[in-house]
């Protein structure tokens, strides 16, 4: 396994996540896609750390930090989606235009 493999995995994951964010209309699935993108970044961080600077664990520390933040963020986002569903009866993003002018 080389750096290239981790980079490829990371890129594939990121693009899949991006596709999900742009194409999906279900808010929960969009959220999951965002998680995919975040984890693509984590893989990238760990891959670079392991292959270019194996003595230290800077990338791994940063990845754990990202996971922590992402967990908090998901908690918040799921709460918002839950409220949205309670109020509007849908989580379809096309039907939600609260921020329209």
């Amino acid at each position: 396994m080389t750096l290239l493999h981790t980079e490829l995995l990371s890129a594939v994951l990121f693009v899949i996540g991006l596709y999900g964010v742009l194409a999906r209309r279900n808010a929960v699935l969009v959220l999951m896609s965002v998680e995919l993108m975040l984890n693509a970044v984590n893989i990238n961080l760990i891959g670079y750390a392991a292959f270019t600077d194996p003595g230290r664990v800077l990338g791994q520390v940063l990845a754990i930090f990202v996971i922590t933040v992402a967990a908090a963020e998901v908690g918040l986002a799921l709460a918002i989606i839950l409220r949205l569903y309670r109020n509007r009866g849908t989580v379809n993003l096309n039907e939600i235009n609260l921020m329209k002018w």
């Binding site: 939600i96 235009n97 921020m99």
Partner: protein
């Protein structure tokens, strides 16, 4: 002991009377109006103490610092010399007489208390004007008397013509006042003081090295100050307001528009005379304006049919005489004429008020006639006043006119002199016409048939002024160690010498005027329409007052209102619509366009973010990586 130092009490008492009548006066009996005559009476009493102190100790000035800021130091003070104290006496005496008269004349009128309040304010400001020893102080009083004039002309403000006349008087005099203010400020800028004595001192050394005042600057500022006098003293071409000011109650015309306020311009020029003297061009302008006014307005007094307007044009004409005398270097003659004219004209106006009181408010002479037997006291007083103004020996008007004529001949030469004689001739003529048309012949209206003499309270001031008109003759004789009153007023001037041929000539002129009046309006030997039929064009021009009012109206309608309309349009379109509302509207419109991109669709935002990231990435790749 009361003396010159307490002269400020006179205006102060009247000002207090104004405040008391105007504010809590309502609750006092008769609206507190009696405070007015009381205040002016005490002022008149104080005047005698001031006068005796002046005669004993000579002229003095009292002043204190009013305002000090850095180098600017403005004093408030009063000047007490022969001129100002004499004027003080004139103002307080005539004001007293007129207030006593008004008590009877105005009884039963609405706003009785307010009338006396404004009268008191006027007396106070006029005395301040007379006493002021610096131009700034004087200017304040100058505007205050203008305000009182405005309030009293418009006393019957329910009547549209009265409101219009008040506005006209205010605006017309303001035109002159603006010039005066500019003149005062110019003098302050160059000389550095508002003090009259300081300005005169600088003017007397004009053109000398080290003196900031140049000859041109002196002439310009004197002309500007004279503009104020032209407005206030109703000189040509700003005379148009005075005849209209007759819309006010008649006692107001007697006090303000005959005896006191309108002579403020003459007083101003006399006060500043040593400075005027150093500006020969300004003096010539004063003389020419005075002559034009005296001559043209005496013609108009001949054709007027309203008794008060005859007197008004006569007043303007005689103010012209005073200005002419000043312009001919005769301060003494001018002030002498001011006094005799003030007494006679105040009395004539009060008599006119008495006449209109007797005939139930009518003012048109054509509806009077035959009042001599019904109003004997009024007739006697009016005759004395008319003869004095005509200049008949031995009334005081004769001596003052003589002094004016002598001054004009000595100072300006024969052409001015002859034209002055012409004006004097017409002065006698219209006075004869006034008295004969009103008092002789048959009554020409129902009211004139049932006329009655006025109450005693109105006749007392009339008789007092009539006696003064006769008694003022003593002013032509040695007084208080001076050759005559003129010399007393302005000791630096040369005394007028009584010249027999001049006196004869002026008597012949006055006699001719009176005789012509007698022939036309007394015996009807010449038909009153004799001249009208032969010179219809002249008649028309005179009846339209030389078309001056029409010309001003045209200027206002077409030029002032035209320019005003253009400015208003400019303001509306350029300033308001384009300048103020324009940017506001464009912001709103831009916002309306821009807000359309806010779709509220989350995927759209995400797409834009991705595209933005791609663009940034491409740019970074192009410029940072490849390079």
């Amino acid at each position: 002991m009361l003396g010159m130092e307490q002269a400020w009490l006179q205006p102060a008492i009247c000002a207090v009377a104004f405040v008391v009548i105007a504010l809590p006066g309502r609750v006092l009996p008769r609206s507190g109006a009696w405070l007015g005559p009381l205040a002016i009476l005490s002022a008149f009493v104080i005047f005698w103490f001031v006068l005796s102190d002046l005669l004993k100790n000579g002229p003095a000035t009292f002043s204190f610092t009013w305002l000090e800021a850095g180098d600017v130091r403005i004093m408030w003070g009063m000047i007490l010399d022969n001129l100002s104290v004499s004027m003080l006496g004139l103002v307080s005496f005539v004001a007293l007489g007129v207030q006593v008269y008004s008590w009877a004349y105005m009884s039963g009128e609405p706003r009785f208390g307010w009338y006396f309040a404004v009268h008191s304010l006027f007396a106070a400001s006029m005395m301040v004007l007379v006493l002021a020893d610096n131009l700034l102080f004087m200017y304040i009083a100058w505007e205050l008397v203008g305000l009182c004039s405005y309030l009293l002309i418009g006393f019957y403000y329910e009547r549209r013509s009265a409101a219009e006349a008040a506005k006209k008087a205010f605006v017309t005099t303001r035109i002159g006042d603006v010039g005066m203010l500019i003149g005062i400020l110019l003098l302050y800028k160059t000389v550095g003081t508002f003090d009259i004595s300081g300005i005169i001192h600088a003017a007397q050394h004009v053109g000398e090295p080290g003196n900031p005042l140049s000859s041109v600057m002196l002439t310009v500022s004197m002309l500007l100050i004279f503009a104020g006098a032209v407005g206030k003293s109703a000189q040509f071409p700003l005379h148009v307001w005075l005849p209209d000011a007759m819309e006010g109650p008649t006692p107001v015309s007697a006090l303000i528009h005959a005896a006191t306020m309108v002579v403020a311009g003459v007083y101003l020029v006399a006060r500043m005379f040593p400075a005027f003297e150093m500006a020969p061009t300004a003096m010539t302008v004063v003389a020419v304006i005075g002559l034009i006014t005296a001559l043209l307005m005496s013609f108009l007094a001949v054709v007027m049919t309203d008794i008060k307007r005859v007197l008004a044009y006569s007043t303007v004409s005689h103010l012209g005489f005073m200005m002419l005398a000043l312009g001919s270097f005769g301060v003494g003659a001018a002030i002498f004429h001011l006094f005799t004219h003030a007494f006679a004209k105040a009395m004539l106006f009060l008599s006119a008020g008495s006449v209109s009181h007797g005939v139930h408010g009518k003012l048109d002479m054509r509806e009077m006639g035959g009042l001599r037997s019904k109003m004997p006291v009024t007739f006697a007083c009016m005759a004395i006043g008319a003869l004095s103004l005509a200049g008949l020996f031995p009334l005081s008007g004769f001596f003052s006119k003589d002094a004016v004529l002598g001054t004009v001949l000595a100072g300006r030469g024969p052409v001015f002199f002859i034209l002055t004689l012409v004006a004097a001739f017409f002065s006698a003529f219209y006075m004869a016409r006034l008295v004969l048309v009103v008092f002789t012949g048959q009554p020409r209206s129902h009211e004139a048939e049932h006329a009655h003499e006025s109450p005693v309270l109105m006749l007392i001031p009339l008789v007092a002024l009539a006696l003064l008109t006769i008694g003022a003759t003593v002013l032509a004789f040695p007084i208080a160690g001076h050759a005559n009153f003129g010399q007393f007023i302005y000791p630096a001037g040369e005394a007028e010498h009584f010249q027999l041929w001049l006196a004869g000539l002026s008597t012949v002129t006055a006699g001719a005027g009176l005789l012509m009046g007698w022939l036309i309006y007394g015996t009807h030997a010449i038909s009153p329409s004799f001249f009208r039929d032969r010179f219809p064009a002249v008649q028309r021009v005179l009846e339209h007052k030389y078309y001056i009012d029409d010309f001003y109206q045209w200027v206002i309608d077409h030029i002032v209102l035209g320019v005003g309309g253009f400015v208003a349009l400019f303001d509306r379109i350029v300033i308001n619509d384009v300048g103020i509302n324009g940017p506001g509207r464009s912001v709103v419109q831009t916002g309306n366009k821009l807000r359309l991109h806010v779709t509220g669709q989350l995927p759209n935002y995400a797409m834009v973010m991705v595209l933005g990231a791609i663009v940034i990435g491409v740019i970074w790749w192009l410029f940072a990586v490849r390079a």
